[in-house]
């Protein structure tokens, strides 16, 4: 499942990533993960298994203790055994520009309208003229089904609408890789669908996605690949078909039984 695109560049390449928050308590242990362009990877695992931490490392929200992470061939973190970060590579940090992330709690800016949330970063970090930024933001809002909500503040939107604004906000920077961390977990059940539809369309449009979710139906139908993590390690890695119908590890089987019975 480590199919490489024609250009030979992986969308995300994590190599032997180790991470602990407090000394001695490993959260990620030797995690290696290659994600090909256009791939939709669903990351599952019990609470505390390190799924969020893995996404946060790829997004640059956490520094790793050792290992290496590249995005589209650009090294974003490279920590040798000595614990020193190599910054020699010109790609350091630049790769982060290609990564968008959406959070469980939306994390919209409450003092800005939907439109302002989306245009802020293009305007201030990419120097895109305000009018152009607004124009694309309006299109983006329409594409997530929120035409006409431009001037609403997050407090005036439902959870599902807020999460769709958050997706549009991330997309405004034209990322090549999108990370989703349990983006439907904070939503009322009847609002989950509208967010999943947006994600499904994004997947169909060829976006590379790493999705942490408990929505097994989504994983089954949309994912190209499912990875199961347990206690900071990747335990199982395969197609949805392989993972859901014939999981090889006992832990995976037990986890899937727990999830299905919910």
């Amino acid at each position: 499942m480590t199919a490489v695109s024609e250009t030979g560049v992986l969308a995300v390449q994590a190599t032997q990533v180790c991470k602990s928050y407090r000394r001695g308590v490993p959260v990620l242990t030797d995690v290696s993960l290659d994600v090909a362009p256009d791939q939709v990877l669903v990351l599952i695992g019990a609470s505390g298994s390190g799924k969020s931490t893995m996404l946060r490392c790829i997004a640059g929200l956490e520094t790793i203790d050792s290992g290496r992470i590249s995005v589209l061939g650009q090294v974003v973190q490279d920590v040798g055994a000595s614990g020193h970060t190599s910054r020699s590579s010109g790609g350091f940090r630049k790769g982060y520009r290609e990564v968008g992330m959406v959070f469980q709690q939306f994390n919209l800016f409450p003092h800005m309208t939907a439109l302002e949330n989306i245009t802020l970063s293009p305007r201030v970090t990419r120097a895109i003229p305000t009018l152009d930024a607004r124009k694309s933001a309006i299109e983006l809002l329409a594409s997530v089904g929120l035409a006409g909500h431009e001037t609403k503040y997050p407090g005036e939107l439902s959870g599902g609408q807020q999460q769709r604004v958050a997706i549009a906000r991330a997309l405004a920077l034209k990322p090549k890789v999108m990370l989703f961390d349990e983006v439907t977990s904070a939503l009322d059940p009847e609002l989950v669908g509208e967010v999943l539809i947006v994600m499904r369309r994004l997947a169909e449009g060829g976006m590379t996605m790493i999705v942490v979710t408990h929505e097994m139906a989504f994983a089954r139908e949309v994912a190209d690949r499912v990875v199961y993590m347990d206690a900071g390690r990747i335990v199982e890695d395969g197609t949805p078909e392989e993972l859901f119908t014939r999981p090889t590890h006992q832990r995976t089987q037990a986890f899937l039984r727990r999830i299905e019975s919910r």
Partner: protein, 224 residues
């Protein structure tokens, strides 16, 4: 009570003219201290939150010292003692401005610090993955939200500051309390004159409270 009130004393040019001069001092000193106090408070808050540790400790000492000693004592100390210690001579107005700015700055520092800290990590993380620098995050994300939260507290400091300018009368700054006290000495009409003084303070302070309330309503976010 058979005190014979004589309100006429308030409405004479001998009271009015000094009062107008006094108002200039009271308002002028207040505005200067407000500006200086805010700059100081903001710098102190940032120093404590984001700067090099020893600088943070220095800020901590300053803030706590000025919050736990009376403004009057600070003022007198700065006026009488500081020139001797530093060898720099300054007049009562300068001393007053220094003392009240430092005092307001200490309270504002704590207010700003609380406001900045109240904007949680989630907002910073969202900014970070959107590629905003730390400064951009502060400017566009943290600050506007923190300001909304601290506005009522800042209003209180501003009102206290305006009232505290009356302390400057003890070092003979010609603000309104000093002017009225002089008039009292000349006319022996403390009841009328101090009542009038209280009314003047109310009249200049109350609009601030109204204005701040209006600003708060304007900045209130829909749906929050």
């Amino acid at each position: 009570m058979n005190y014979k009130w004589d309100w006429g004393i308030v409405f004479t040019s001998d009271t009015f003219n000094p009062l107008l001069i006094g108002l200039e001092f009271t308002l002028g000193v207040s505005v200067i201290c407000l500006v200086l106090g805010n700059i100081l408070g903001l710098a102190a808050a940032m120093g404590r939150l984001y700067a090099w540790k020893p600088l943070g400790i220095l800020v901590y000492v300053y803030v706590d010292f000025f919050r736990t000693t009376p403004a009057l004592v600070q003022l007198i100390w700065i006026f009488y003692v500081l020139p001797i210690v530093t060898g720099i001579d300054f007049g009562p107005v300068e001393a007053g401005i220094i003392a009240l700015s430092l005092n307001a700055g200490a309270f504002l520092a704590e207010i700003y610090r609380g406001g900045l800290q109240s904007i949680g990590a989630a907002q910073r993380e969202a900014s970070h993955v959107l590629g905003l620098s730390r400064i951009q995050t502060l400017r566009y994300v943290v600050f506007p939200q923190a300001f909304r939260r601290v506005l009522p507290a800042i209003t209180n400091v501003l009102i206290s500051l305006l009232k505290d300018t009356s302390l400057l009368s003890v070092i003979a700054v010609s603000e309104i309390t000093y002017q009225i006290t002089n008039r009292v000495a000349a006319t022996y009409r403390p009841l009328e004159l101090y009542t009038a003084l209280a009314v003047v303070y109310f009249v200049i302070t109350y609009p601030i409270s109204l204005g701040a309330g209006a600003l708060e309503r304007r900045l209130r976010l829909p749906g929050m």
